[in-house]
């Protein structure tokens, strides 16, 4: 972008008629002004577009029960009572909220750990150790996506019964890991091409075992990709509804999305509580994303451009 430089003193400006150079410069300045204004316009649109549903969530959470059905676009008597009810588990459907929140955390952490572990081990073997039929494995991983997760829900339920894992958080972790790992392998492979293979070779010459190469060289250098994929896996697990709903049935084992869905069946429509619950539930993934966002973008596309 060019920077317009102002001309010399006022005397010159007053005395002479605008030259074509000056006209060109002011034209450029006007164009830039329009561009900035346009950018600002886009920014405002993006802001509104993004935030309106979020505003709705907050509005409902702050309203009292009956107000949801009225004409207002602000909460008429905003109160944080719903949040208090959620935190103190003061409502029938929320009796086990913190326990269920803990379940969600457990599922999230389990998903992240196993996705990263299994994914990085597999992509290390395929990409760094260059096993002979590695491409079969990475292609097979992609085949997981031929049938989308929601399509496999019914057979999955049956399988979990066979494995004896119904109503068990591990069945959900298994499901989430299954669907996150292929993407993890894909990202790790892409990212891994940016790490020179000489490092591995140097370590091998120095007598390191493959595991030591993995642990001491590969993982630390893959950190951005690990963070990116870990965050992705966490958000996947946190966002997911169908499997958690099918596989977890009792109040003790339910995760928060399943508990939230109970509200939809209620005769009383305590939707302010529901949205307050949703906000509390949304805080961890949003916070984690914001903490790790820089590493995320770096880790997601290294190598995607070069192809």
């Amino acid at each position: 972008m060019t920077v317009a430089v102002d001309d010399a003193g006022p005397a010159v400006a007053v005395a002479a008629a605008p030259t074509s150079a000056q006209r060109a410069r002011s034209a450029r300045r006007r164009l830039r002004w329009w561009k900035e204004a346009g950018a600002l316009g886009v920014a405002v649109l993006v802001l509104i577009w993004t935030l309106v549903p979020v505003y709705n969530i907050f509005m409902v959470a702050l309203e009292s029960k009956g107000d949801v059905f009225t004409d207002t676009i602000w909460p008429s008597q905003p109160s944080a009572e719903s949040f208090w009810i959620v935190i103190t588990q003061g409502y029938w459907y929320l009796e086990h909220f913190w326990h269920q929140f803990g379940n969600s955390v457990y599922i999230g952490v389990g998903t992240v750990f196993f996705t990263l572990a299994i994914g990085s081990l597999a992509s290390f073997a395929i990409g760094r150790m260059r096993i002979r039929y590695g491409w079969v494995l990475s292609n097979a991983a992609l085949l997981t996506y031929v049938i989308p997760a929601s399509f496999l829900a019914i057979p999955f339920y049956r399988i979990m019964q066979i494995y004896g894992l119904t109503n068990n958080l591990w069945s959900v972790i298994a499901a989430e890991v299954t669907f996150a790992t292929p993407y993890a392998i894909f990202i790790f492979q892409q990212y891994g091409t940016s790490i020179p293979i000489e490092l591995d070779e140097a370590a091998r010459i120095d007598g390191a075992s493959p595991f030591q190469v993995y642990w001491k060289i590969y993982l630390p250098l893959m950190a951005p990709a690990l963070v990116a994929v870990g965050t992705y896996a966490l958000l996947l697990a946190w966002n997911e509804y169908l499997y958690q709903f099918l596989l977890l049935s009792s109040k003790q084992s339910m995760s928060v999305p399943v508990a939230l869905a109970q509200f939809l069946n209620s005769d009383e429509a305590p939707w302010n509580y529901m949205m307050a619950t949703a906000i509390v539930y949304a805080i961890p993934p949003v916070a984690i994303y914001y903490v790790f966002r820089r590493r995320m973008s770096a880790g997601l596309t290294m190598g995607g451009v070069k192809g």
Binding site: S249, S250, N265
Partner: protein, 459 residues
């Protein structure tokens, strides 16, 4: 107001159980065994507590253990279906609408065990309609048999906001006594109410395709009111070409779609889920509502003013001036063949349906469901004397004439229900502009296609 204090009931039930007053000959004291139970979560907290008390009382009396899960209404049905498909089920499964949705097909496929021995223990006490609703046709044995144990019943009464009726300048006592006229009575109120409230509608009709039952229930009552109850006869045969049935369908569809098109029904009703009509009622968005059980009122039981303002009405006469027959829905328990602890399961169910246990359980649940036994309703003042809501409801369910849902005659009708044929018919007319005649023909054709898959040998 709930004259039956919770603490009193709790103390009472534990005391009685401890006293072994109900330790009937059926309870096995042998070794402690466990049965797993999938039970539906109630719509109010007290229903769940009542169930927990029942279980506690049984465990104490029998020494067996009941491992139960209380699951919300919608998800419970899905878990039951998933379990039956995969062949891995809890010992007892219970659902409010299993009689319409799951039991008919699974009896057809011989997946449920015969529970006649359980039903026999109280057979003379059950209401005949409830008994009809418990017998289903098995395509493997080619016979009808009891595969369902009725535990509680419900019907569809009217729920009306008295204050809104009066605000519009009318009196509920003046309402006409025949079906269509009763519905028409509310129409002029809308204009008056709209003067002060922007979004108010008078007809809480539920022409929805969102399950599981409200859309079908609404239509069936119109069908019955117009003389079309013979659509499926007790021998399992469908009479879709019967001119009387066809005419009833056309009249019902005409009334519902006209009311919708004239703006008396909230437009969102096309997509109402099971609880949305109650939500609309509570928000005073609709003046009246035809919906199963008195859950609409019971949800407000702790707010005396609102509770008294919401009037429960039993059904007026049908369009021919005869007493209207309500559809009695039976909520019950069933045992799949894949169950592992059948003996304990049967024992528990026998305990549950003992009249005094049943009565106590349903009363603790705030009377939202009726006992399937008329003598309980008549003898215990709780049902007919203590609360006008319950009086209307219990009268409609256990005293006035009723008919069961059609799937007990022909299991194929359960799939007709599930496919929301009637809700689709209404949507075809109001949303896609089909004529009532065309929508009727389409619906009847669809029903006939579905029923063709379930040839019931006439017995």
């Amino acid at each position: 107001m709930n004259k039956l204090g919770r603490r009193v009931v709790l103390r009472g039930s534990v005391g009685l159980a401890a006293a072994g007053t109900f330790a009937s000959p059926y309870i096995a004291r042998a070794q402690a065994k466990t049965a797993s139970v999938l039970w539906v979560q109630g719509f109010v907290k007290e229903e769940d507590e009542a169930f927990q008390n029942l279980v506690a009382a049984y465990e104490k009396a029998s020494g067996n253990k009941i491992d139960y899960s209380l699951i919300p209404f919608g998800p419970a049905m899905q878990k039951i279906v998933a379990g039956l498909t995969s062949g891995d089920t809890p010992d007892i499964m219970f659902h409010d609408i299993a009689d319409q949705a799951v039991v008919p097909q699974n009896t057809w496929n011989d997946k449920l065990i015969d529970v006649s021995d359980i039903v026999e223990t109280q057979k003379d006490k059950f209401h005949p309609t409830a008994l009809l609703a418990s017998k289903y046709y098995n395509n493997v044995t080619k016979q009808r048999g009891f595969t369902y144990v009725p535990v509680k019943c419900g019907v569809l009464p009217f729920h009306v906001w008295n204050s809104m009726v009066e605000k519009a300048g009318f009196k509920l006592a003046d309402a006409p006594k025949t079906w269509d006229a009763f519905w028409d009575f509310f129409k002029p109120m809308q204009k008056k109410l709209r003067e002060t409230q922007r979004n108010v509608y008078v007809h809480g009709l539920q022409p929805t395709t969102n399950g599981p039952a409200d859309g079908n229930n609404t239509f069936h009552h119109f069908l019955i009111a117009n003389g079309g109850n013979g659509i499926v006869s007790p021998d399992g045969e469908a009479h879709l070409d019967d001119p009387q049935v066809k005419e009833a369908v056309i009249k019902s569809l005409t009334y519902i779609t006209t009311s919708y098109k004239e703006g008396y029904v909230p437009p969102g009703a096309l997509g109402w889920s099971d609880a949305d009509d109650n939500n609309a009622f509570h928000a005073k968005q609709i003046v009246m509502d035809l919906d199963g059980t008195i859950s609409t009122e019971v949800a407000m039981i702790h707010e005396k003013e609102k509770y008294d303002d919401a009037i429960t009405l039993k059904l007026p006469n049908d369009n021919a001036g005869q007493p209207m027959r309500a559809e009695l829905g039976a909520a019950g328990a069933f045992i799949a063949k894949s169950a592992k602890n059948v003996a304990v399961a049967k024992d528990f169910l026998k305990y549950v349906i003992q009249p005094d246990n049943l009565n106590l359980y349903l009363k603790t649940g705030l009377g939202r469901w009726l006992p399937p036994m008329p003598h309980l309703v008549k003898e215990d003042p709780f049902w007919l004397k203590q609360d006008p809501h319950r009086t209307a409801y219990a009268t409609e369910g256990m005293i006035d004439p009723t008919v069961p849902n059609y799937p007990c005659f022909n299991p194929g009708y359960a799939e007709v229900n599930a496919q929301q044929v009637w809700g689709i018919a209404v949507a075809d007319v109001v949303k896609d502009g089909m004529t009532v005649q065309a929508a009727t023909d389409k619906a009847l054709k669809r029903i006939s296609t579905i029923l063709a898959k379930y040839p019931v040998t006439r017995s």
